[in-house]
Every structure is written in structure tokens, then in C-alpha cells.
Assembly symmetry: C2
Homo-oligomer: 283 residues x 2
Amino acid sequence: MITLKGAVVSAKIKEEVTELLRELAGTIPRLAIVRVGERPDDMAYERGALKKMENFGLQAESFSYPADISDEDFQAEFKKINENPGIDGILLLRPLPKQIHERDIERMILPEKDLDGISPENIARVFAGESEGFAPCTAEAVIEVLKANDISLTGKRVAVVGRSMVVGRPLSMLLLKENATVTICHTRTKEIEKTCQNAEILIAAAGQAKMIDPSYVGADAVVIDVGINVDNDGNLCGDVDFESLNGVASMATPVPGGVGAVTTAVLAKHLVMAARKRRGSRA
Amino acid sequence: MITLKGAVVSAKIKEEVTELLRELAGTIPRLAIVRVGERPDDMAYERGALKKMENFGLQAESFSYPADISDEDFQAEFKKINENPGIDGILLLRPLPKQIHERDIERMILPEKDLDGISPENIARVFAGESEGFAPCTAEAVIEVLKANDISLTGKRVAVVGRSMVVGRPLSMLLLKENATVTICHTRTKEIEKTCQNAEILIAAAGQAKMIDPSYVGADAVVIDVGINVDNDGNLCGDVDFESLNGVASMATPVPGGVGAVTTAVLAKHLVMAARKRRGSRA
């Protein structure tokens, strides 16, 4: 079984970003990472994103607020960031605390700064299979992993396990755009192992630690693991029991070191694309 | 094989509409049908919708414009309809002639009047599986046919043939909301017959006259035909070769007399729901 490493894909995306940056003629795009509270997974993602932006030659700034900030205050702060002409793109770490109306933020964020595809405008574009607009970075990272490894999608049977708005649903639409035949599985799917076994490419985005074992995997299938979980020993693990797939799957992504590393690279690419679009004509 | 008749489903929806109307206490909701040019299929759909609204005790008015109306003039006319407080819902017949920027209209239409789900706001809601908002009427009509005939969707293997924004994509999301395991097939799907045969419920929305024959249909499957085509003899026909499924499928919808009759009933239901929401508190 070949291990599909995220770092290799990230390096390819870096080349693209560097090329795009060149056309910006000295303007360095700037990302705002917006965080409320101090959830450990938000903090970890933020650190990873800040590091990646620096590594890719981009600017990033963290805007953090106390977990008990009022809805009104947060909306006012978010509005400032949204309207700040020096900021090219925004990553909002979610979910937000309950007192904040996330829906209002989704409707407020400017689609052209909405790098993680949370606005209705971007959601509708992804759903329609358009090229314009931003898809959620994690969903797009899966496509990047497949493309960077020359795994064709046209006509392929692809099963997606999970139907979240962050991965499962938008990813299904991105796969459809690449002409895959997509089956969306979830907790209510009957005989889910059988359905997954029938797939040539299996994508696990269920949020269930090590759920995918050989009983789910067809011979020589490609398995992409989008899960980020903590196992019983407190170690980071995916939705896939990686080692168990040896001799079954043809290729698989590890966790950590797989899709996660690509997600922040996609974020960087979106940032440069946003900056080009906003400043392109003036650059 | 049992024939699933649209008229029976439409009659059930009429009961719901009548009940909802009662709560409006004398206010009769009003639909605007907006048409540009005189394409025969638009005219036929408009006639059917006007007749259905009358039959359901609702008001409807046709707003028609010459096929060569300028983008600017049409936008101005559409804006008036959109802002007219006496109009509760709008059905825009599409596609529009090329000189009109359909995208601008999709962004202009008020989501609360957008009965056929063309605005980004409604598209995003359907994609997210929310209960609020309006799905495209034809997609929702398929769900109504299944529900009215007590065909459960939870855990069922459902194949959708076609990936349009009018039927295939939104319908897939509505099916997912009902906990079906959804496979989206299309022109690039390899071995499409085999994939379709594996489905317990097969939905044809490909726009290909009589494409679906017994080679696509598993034993005792339920087949729903969303197609509206004209065959070689000039007769209306669906995507399904209906007669050929005798002895193979357990149930199927005919064309005409199937999903089409339900689509305008869903439009009527959406109209009353829109009116309730807009006027409800004042009624």
C-alpha cells in the first residue's frame, strides 16, 4: 500500500502559490484568522495555519476574542475585519459559542474574503459546480490530494462517508464536478460496508476514530482519510484504521500527515486568489 | 407494476393547502409567473400553473415580456414585481434569453418570494438540509410522490440519474435529508445500468427520452420519472420506457400524469407558505 503524504501535495500547491504571488508584484496577501475562546483544536489549527502562511510567504494575523463575548460585540468586531481593506481573506474558526448567531456571520462575510466557503453565495456556487467562489478548504484538499497523485476521477465510483457541511456535502459536489459517480453514505446507511466496498475511491469524513477497516474497503481501492480524532490512548488518529489496510487498499492517506497538511495549503491558495481578485487590477 | 399517479398526490397536497389557507383568514395568496418570450414549454407550464392555482383557490398573474427585452428593462420590471407587496411569490420561467443576466435575477429575487429555489440563500439551505427555505418545486415533487405513497426513504439505496440544478442536485440533498443513501449518476458514469440496478429507488432526471429500460432496473424497484421529452412520434414521454418495466419494477410514475402534476401542487404549497410567513402575523 502506497502512503499518500500531504507534504508532497502541499509542496506542489506552494509552487502554484509562489507563481500567483509573482503576478501580485510585491503585494503580500494578508489573512485574518478569527477565533472566539480557546478550544484546543481551534488553537492547533490556528498555529498550523499561521505557520503555513509564513512558510508560503504570506501574512496572517490572529484576531481572538473571549469565549463569553456578546453577539453584538462580536458582530461589530467581525464587521471591522470584514471591511478592513488591508485584509484579503478571513478564516473563521467554528463552531462559535452558542450566544453568537453564526448564521448572521455567514451572511455578513464578504464572499470574496470567505476563504473557507461559509457564505450562501459560495455554498451555492459549490453546489452548482461552478469554478468561481471558494469551497471549504478541507473538502478541496481531498481533490488536491487525488489530483497531485494523478488519480483520475472521471467515471470513478467514489463513496463519501459523512454528510457534513464542512466536508461530506461540499466534497460530494466537487467530486461530481470532476465527473465521479458519487455515493453519499452516513450513519443511517444500511449495509454500509458493502456500499463502501463497491467504491474505487473511499473517502472517510465521518468523525469516528478508526471506523474504516478492511471490511469497508474494496480490493486496490484508494482511501482518503479526512478524520481528525483522538484515540483511547490520547493519540491523534483518523477515521481509518490505516495499518489494517495493508494488502487491501492500493493507496491511503495517513493521519497525521495526510489531508490536514493540505487543508492549510488550500487556505493559502485561496488567500492569494482572493488577493489577486481584489487587488489584481491595481497591482 | 403499480402506477403512481400524480393526481392522487396533488389531491393530498390540495388538502394541506386548504388547511393552511384557512389560517390565513380570507387573505388569498397571489403568485406572479414571469415569462420572457413565448417558448412552447414555458407556455405549457404557465397554463398548467395558472389552472392549478385557480383549482387550489389561489390567485395567479402572468407577467410576460418580449423575447428581445433588454437586460436593463427586464431587471427594472422584475424589481417592481419583487417589491410589490401584493405579490407573495414568484415563479420565473427559465432559461431566460441570452441578453438577460440570469445570475443578477437569482441574486435579486427575495428569498421569501423565491418559490422555486433559485436564490443563493435558498440553494444554500437546501444544500445544508435545512427545513426553512424553498427547494426547486420539481425536486420536492419527487419527495412528495414517495411520501404520499408511504415509500420510506431512510437507509434506502436511491440512485438519481442526472445532476442538474433544477432536479438532480437539489433532489439528492432532499433525499439525503430523508436519510437515503444517495448515488448521483450522470453521462460520465461507467456501467450506469449496473449502478442503477443496485438501487431500491431509481429516479430518472436525465432529459433523455425513454432512456431507462429494464436493464437499469433492479427487481421490485420503485421508479420515478422526472423527464419531460417528446418522442419520435411527437408525443410527450418521460426518461423511462414505462411499459417495458412491467414485471420488473414494483411501482412507477407515468409521463404525463406523474411528477409533473405534483410540481405545480408543490408550487401552490410554497405560495401559501410564503404568504403565511409574510402576512401570517398580520392575518
